[in-house]
C-alpha cells in the first residue's frame, strides 16, 4: 500500500564550488553518487545568466557565456555574505559587473530589457533553486533538505548568508559542514576499491591530509581522526593557486602564440580573454589524460580563429613553479602542526585540479613512505558532495533538536588528549590505547592475554607516552614496492615516529586468575577518560569475572 507515510524525507548533499557544483544522494545500495543535471552534467558550472526573458543556470548559462558575458554571473560563491568593498578587487573581469548595493556585493545585469541589480545572495538562491529542481527531476520526488559543504575559510556571516540563500530556495539546511570533513567522511563511509586503511587498531586512528585543489584555491587541512571523530588540527589556504592558475599559464602561452602568428595583442581585450580562458580549461583537462591537447577558439580577435597545440611535457615545464608552490603550501600545513610527511596516514586528493598527473606524482614523492596512502578512489570533484549526502543520511536518524544543538560550540569544543595513553606489554613495548589528540570524553576497550601457562597474576602498567622519531632508517623490504624494486635495498626511507612510554600513571595487578594455557586468558581492559582528564581503568578477566577498577584523577583536580 503506497501511502504518504513511507515517503521518507529526501536529503541531498550539495557542494557549491567557486566554479562547479555537485549534487549527491545515497543510493539504495548505501553508496553515494552524484546526480546529473538536465544536460547530463554532474559537474554543474556555478553560473547564473540573464538572457532576454530567461534566467539560465549551470550548463545552460555556461553555453551562452561567450555570447552574453556581461549578463552572466560567475565565480560568485566566495562573495556570499561579503561586502562590495571586500570583493571589488577580486571580481571576475569580463563577466557581469560587480556593483555596490547598500554595501553588499551585487551584480548588474540586463534582464527583460531592464537594468537589474541582483545581490550575491539572490544569485545563490537562484542557483540553488535550479540544483534543487535538477535533483527533483532526477529523483521524481520532492527534495526536503540538504547538507551543504562550505570551505573552511568561510566566515560565520558567509555561512549564515549561504544558509539563508538555501532556505529561500526552499531547501531546509540540516547542516553546513566543512569541505575537508565531508571528504574524510566520504572515505570513511564509502569503500569502493576495498582498500580499507590498515590502522593501528580497531579504533581507526589516523592523521589525514586533505589536499583540495579546486578552481580558485588550494586548501590543505590536517585532520586527526580518532574513533570516528574528526578534528581539524590546522588548515592552510592559498587563494592564488588552483586550476585557474594553470589556465592562466596556458592562456598566456597561447596568447603569445596568437600574437606571434597574427601580430594581434589580446592582453587588454577582455572578450578575447574570456574566450581563451574558456578554451584552455578544456585543453588543460585533456592534458591530464592525453599527451598532447589542442586549443581552438573561433574568432579570437578581429575575426581571426586560433588553433594551437601543446604537449604535456611542455605544460609540465611551464607549470613547474606552480607545482612547487602547491607542495610548499602542503609542507607548510604539516609544519604548522609539527608533523612530518612520514607521520601522515592518508593524503586525500580533492578538487578537479588534483587530477593533474604531474602534481599527483610530486605529492607521492613528498609522501614517500609507503605506509602513507595517497587516495583518490572517488571522483575528486564529487567526494565532498558524497560526504554531505552521507551526513544527511546519518542525520535522518536523529531528532531535529539534537541536530540543531549538536553544532553548538559547547558540544563541538572539547578537550583533546595532549599525550597518548598506553600499556607496556610483556616485551616492554608501548601499546598505544588512546593516541594524542583524541577528543574527550573517550572510552575504549581492549583485550589482553597472558604470556605464561597458568599465569595467576597479571601486571598492568599504564603510561603516558610521547612521540619519538625513529633514528635508524630501515631498508625497504624487497618486492614490496614494485617501482623501487631494483636496487631498492639501498633506499632509505624516513620512518614513522613511534610512541614511547614517558610517565608512569598507575600499576595494577589482577590476582587469583583461573589457570589457562598461554594466550588463553582474556583480560578486558576498559579505559575511560572524561573531560576533566579523570581516567578510569577497569581490568576484568572474562571467565571468572575477576575485576579491578582504579581511578586516576586529572592533574589539576
Amino acid at each position: 500500500m503506497p501511502s504518504a507515510t513511507d515517503s521518507k524525507p529526501v536529503i541531498i548533499g550539495l557542494r557549491i564550488g567557486q566554479s562547479y557544483s555537485s549534487i549527491a544522494i545515497i543510493n539504495k545500495d548505501g553508496r553515494a553518487g552524484c546526480i546529473a543535471n538536465e544536460d547530463g552534467e554532474r559537474q554543474i558550472p556555478t553560473m547564473v545568466a540573464f538572457s532576454g526573458e530567461e534566467e539560465l543556470t549551470g550548463t545552460q548559462a555556461r553555453v551562452q557565456l561567450l555570447s552574453n558575458a556581461k549578463n552572466t554571473i560567475t565565480q560568485f560563491r566566495n562573495f556570499i555574505g561579503k561586502s562590495y568593498e571586500e570583493c571589488k578587487s577580486i571580481a571576475n573581469i569580463g563577466t557581469a559587473q560587480l556593483v555596490d548595493k547598500d554595501g553588499q556585493a551585487a551584480y548588474k545585469v540586463e534582464f527583460k530589457e531592464e537594468e537589474t541589480i541582483v545581490t550575491v545572495q539572490e544569485v545563490c538562491t537562484k542557483y540553488i533553486t535550479s540544483l534543487k529542481e535538477s535533483a527533483e527531476n532526477f529523483l521524481g520526488q520532492p527534495v526536503t533538505g540538504t547538507v551543504l559543504a562550505v570551505p573552511t575559510y568561510f566566515t560565520e556571516q558567509q555561512k549564515n548568508s549561504l544558509k539563508i540563500a538555501t532556505e529561500k530556495a526552499g531547501l531546509k539546511v540540516l547542516q553546513l559542514i566543512n569541505e575537508p570533513s565531508a571528504a574524510a567522511l566520504a572515505y570513511e563511509l564509502g569503500y569502493i576499491s576495498g582498500q580499507k586503511l590498515m590502522t593501528a587498531n580497531e579504533y581507526d586512528d589516523r592523521v589525514d591530509v586533505i589536499v583540495d585543489l579546486g578552481s580558485d584555491s588550494l586548501d590543505v587541512s590536517v585532520m586527526s581522526v580518532r574513533s570516528g571523530m574528526y578534528t581539524i588540527l590546522g588548515t592552510t589556504h592559498d587563494p592564488d593557486l588552483g586550476g585557474a592558475a594553470f589556465d592562466e599559464l596556458l592562456a598566456k602561452h597561447f596568447a603569445n602564440e596568437f600574437k606571434r602568428k597574427t601580430k594581434i595583442d589580446i592582453t587588454d581585450n577582455k572578450r578575447a580573454l574570456v574566450k581563451l580562458r574558456n578554451a584552455v580549461e578544456i585543453t588543460k583537462k585533456t592534458l591530464s589524460s592525453n599527451s598532447t591537447a589542442p586549443c581552438s577558439v573561433e574568432s579570437l580577435a578581429e575575426g581571426i580563429d586560433f588553433h594551437g597545440n601543446i604537449n604535456r611535457t611542455r605544460f609540465e615545464i611551464m607549470a613547474n613553479k606552480l607545482f612547487s608552490k602547491n607542495l610548499e603550501i602542503i609542507s607548510e600545513a604539516l609544519k604548522k602542526n609539527d608533523l612530518e610527511p612520514q607521520s601522515i596516514d592518508e593524503v586525500i586528493l580533492v578538487g578537479g585540479a588534483s587530477r593533474i598527473p604531474k602534481l599527483q606524482s610530486k605529492i607521492r614523492e613528498m609522501f614517500v613512505n609507503p605506509s602513507t596512502l595517497i587516495r583518490q578512489d572517488f571522483e575528486p570533484e564529487e567526494v565532498v558532495a558524497y560526504g554531505c549526502a552521507f551526513q544527511g543520511s546519518l542525520l535522518s536518524n536523529f531528532a531535529d533538536k539534537i541536530i540543531n544543538d549538536s553544532i553548538n560550540t559547547s558540544i563541538t569544543s572539547t578537550p583533546h588528549l595532549l599525550k597518548s595513553i598506553g600499556i607496556v606489554n610483556d616485551k616492554q613495548e608501548f601499546i598505544t590505547l588512546i593516541p594524542e589528540n583524541t577528543p574527550l570524553p573517550v572510552r575504549r576497550k581492549f583485550t589482553f592475554t597472558n604470556y605464561l601457562e597458568n599465569q595467576k597474576e597479571i601486571y598492568i602498567t599504564v603510561w603516558e607516552g610521547i612521540h619519538q622519531h625513529q633514528e635508524e632508517e630501515k631498508k625497504v623490504e624487497e618486492g614490496k614496492n614494485d617501482e623501487k624494486d631494483e636496487g631498492g635495498e639501498d633506499i632509505k626511507l624516513p620512518q614513522r615516529p613511534i610512541n614511547i612510554p614517558d610517565k608512569l600513571l598507575a600499576e595494577m595487578v589482577l590476582k587469583d586468575l583461573p589457570e589457562k594455557l598461554i594466550n588463553e586468558l582474556k583480560i578486558d581492559i576498559i579505559i575511560e577518560v572524561d573531560i576533566h582528564s579523570k581516567c578510569i581503568i577497569t581490568a576484568k578477566e572474562i571467565s571468572s569475572d575477576k575485576k579491578l577498577e582504579i581511578e586516576i584523577d586529572g592533574k589539576t583536580k
Binding site: A4, S406, S413, P439, L452, V509, K555
Partner: protein
C-alpha cells in the same frame, strides 16, 4: 594488527603481595579543540553530551530504544477533530487551519519539525482512505486531502513561513495603553510571539525588572532594527496559475506584489508601534531615567561636597599650621625661661660657693694664727686674689675646692688647696703668675 602484542606479564618481584594497585600520576590536561560535527560517532557524542549521559548510560538507553521503537506512534496524545474540521472542503485549503488539521493547535509556530512529522504520521494512520473504507466508513477522502495539504505546507520551510506569517489564530494586536496590569506580563508574551518572525536568532526577550540596563538597551536596539521574514504571499488574490491569459496573469501578479508590499509596510508599522508603546511604558526605562537623573544629581552633589570638603581641608590645614607655630613658640619660650632659670641657679650656686670658700678662709682667720688679727691689707689682697682665681673657675671647680676645704683640718692644708688650684691654673696658662701673689705656689 596482530593481537600478539596484547600480552601481559607478571608483577615484578618487588611488588608487595597484598597490593592491588599503585597510582603515580594524573594525565596531562587536555587541549581544547573543535571536533567536526560529522559522522555517527560525533552524533553519538552530541547525544551523550546534550542528555548529560555517560557512555554506559547512553548504551543502555540506545538499547532500550531499539527494542521499544516497534511499538509507539499512535498512542500519543492527540486532539480530537471537530465535526467542522472533518467536513472541510480541501479546495478551500487557503482558509484551512493547518495546525488544527494536524492536531497541533496548541503548538502552532512553536511546533517542531519532528512534531509535525509525528502528527502527520498519526493523522495519516487514522484517516487514510484505505483504512476508512475497510472499516465500513464512507469512501470520502476529503479530510485526508486536508491532512496532506496541511503537511505539504507545514513541512516546507518556505510555505510554512508564509502560512505562519498570516496565522489568524495568533493575535496580532497591540494592547491599549490603558490596560492595567503588570507590564512584563502584558508585553513579555507579545515580544515572544513577535520574535518568531526574526531572521536573526537568538532574539532578545523583554526580561523582567531585574534585567540590566545594558540588556534592556540591547533589547530595544534589536527590536528597532528587527529583521523580519514575515511575508504576505499567502494572501495573494487569485492563484496566478489559474488564468491562462498572459496579461491577466501579469496584472494579477503586479497587484499581488503591490498588495504584499502594502501588508509588509503595515506590518512594519504595527511592530514599530508595539515597540514604541512598550518603550514608553517600560518601568525599567522610567527607572533608568530616574536613576540617571538621580545619578546626575548625586554627581552634582558629590561635586559640591567635594568642593566644600576641599575648602574645609585648606582651612583646617592653615589652623593646624598656626597651632603648630604657636606651640613651637611657647616651647621655645619655655626653654628660654628654663635656660635662664638654670643660668640663674648656676650663678647663684657659683656665688654661694665663692661665699663658702671665702667663709672658709675667714674661718681660718686668713691663714693667721687664731690669736692674731690679720692685717686689713692682707685680707684685701687675699680676697682680690681669690676673686681673680674665682674668675677662672667653673662651678664644678669651685665645688671641688670648697669640698677640699670642707675636709681639711688646719689652715696650712687649707691654704695649700688654694695654692694647688692657683698652680693648676697658672700652669694651664689661664692665669698669669703675677696676678697671684699671695697664693702663688712659690710661697
Amino acid at each position: 594488527m596482530s593481537q600478539t602484542q596484547f600480552v601481559l606479564s607478571v608483577p615484578p618481584p618487588s611488588w608487595t603481595d597484598g597490593e592491588e594497585f599503585r597510582i603515580h600520576c594524573g594525565i596531562s590536561d587536555g587541549l581544547i579543540r573543535n571536533v567536526e560535527p560529522v559522522g555517527s560517532q560525533f552524533l553519538a557524542h552530541a547525544r551523550r553530551k546534550l542528555n548529560n549521559h555517560s557512555f554506559s548510560e547512553d548504551d543502555r538507553i540506545q538499547e532500550e530504544a531499539t527494542t521499544e521503537q516497534t511499538e509507539e506512534i499512535i498512542s500519543e496524545d492527540s486532539e480530537e477533530e471537530t465535526p467542522e474540521l472533518l467536513n472541510r472542503d480541501p479546495k478551500d485549503w487557503k482558509e484551512q487551519d493547518h495546525y488544527a488539521v494536524l492536531g497541533l493547535s496548541k503548538y502552532r509556530w512553536k511546533a517542531t519539525d519532528e512534531q509535525i512529522k509525528q502528527a502527520h504520521r498519526r493523522k495519516v494512520l487514522k484517516h487514510h482512505p484505505d483504512k476508512k473504507a475497510s472499516s465500513g466508513n464512507t469512501n470520502d477522502d476529503a479530510f485526508f486531502k486536508c491532512i496532506q495539504k496541511a503537511h505539504e505546507i507545514l513541512s516546507d520551510p518556505v510555505k510554512r513561513r508564509q502560512f505562519d506569517s498570516v496565522d489568524e489564530a495568533i493575535d496580532d494586536s497591540l494592547p491599549s495603553t490603558k490596560v492595567k496590569g503588570d507590564f512584563f506580563e502584558i508585553y513579555g508574551p507579545i515580544f515572544e510571539r513577535e520574535a518568531r518572525f526574526s531572521n536573526k536568532t537568538p532574539v532578545p526577550m523583554l526580561g523582567d525588572t531585574n534585567t540590566s540596563k545594558l540588556e534592556v538597551e540591547a533589547f530595544y536596539d534589536f527590536w528597532y532594527n528587527f529583521d523580519s521574514w514575515r511575508s504576505f504571499e499567502y494572501l495573494d488574490k487569485d492563484d496566478t496559475d489559474s488564468t491562462d491569459n498572459r496579461d491577466d496573469k501579469r496584472y494579477i501578479e503586479r497587484k499581488n506584489k503591490a498588495e504584499r508590499a502594502k501588508h509588509k509596510k503595515e506590518d512594519n508599522i504595527r511592530l514599530r508601534k508595539i515597540i514604541d508603546q512598550a518603550l514608553s511604558l517600560d518601568p525599567r526605562i522610567q527607572r533608568f531615567k530616574q536613576e540617571e537623573k538621580a545619578a546626575k544629581e548625586a554627581k552634582k552633589k558629590e561635586k559640591e561636597e567635594a568642593a566644600k570638603r576641599a575648602e574645609e581641608a585648606t582651612r583646617k590645614a592653615a589652623e593646624e599650621e598656626k597651632q603648630k607655630k604657636e606651640m613651637a613658640e611657647a616651647e621655645a619660650k619655655q626653654k628660654q625661661a628654663e635656660e635662664k632659670k638654670e643660668k640663674a641657679a648656676k650663678k647663684k650656686a657659683i656665688r654661694n660657693e665663692r661665699k663658702n670658700i671665702k667663709t672658709h678662709i675667714k674661718d681660718y682667720n686668713y691663714f693667721y694664727p687664731d690669736n692674731e688679727t690679720p692685717p686689713v691689707d692682707v685680707i684685701d689682697i687675699q680676697l682680690s686674689e681669690l676673686d681673680s682665681l674665682f674668675e677662672n673657675l667653673s662651678l664644678e671647680d669651685l665645688q671641688n675646692v670648697r669640698k677640699q676645704l670642707d675636709s681639711v683640718k688646719d689652715r696650712y692644708s687649707a691654704k695649700k688647696v688654694l695654692i694647688e688650684e692657683a698652680k693648676r691654673l697658672v700652669s694651664a696658662g689661664t692665669l698669669s703668675a703675677d696676678s697671684i701673689k699671695h697664693f702663688s705656689p712659690g710661697i
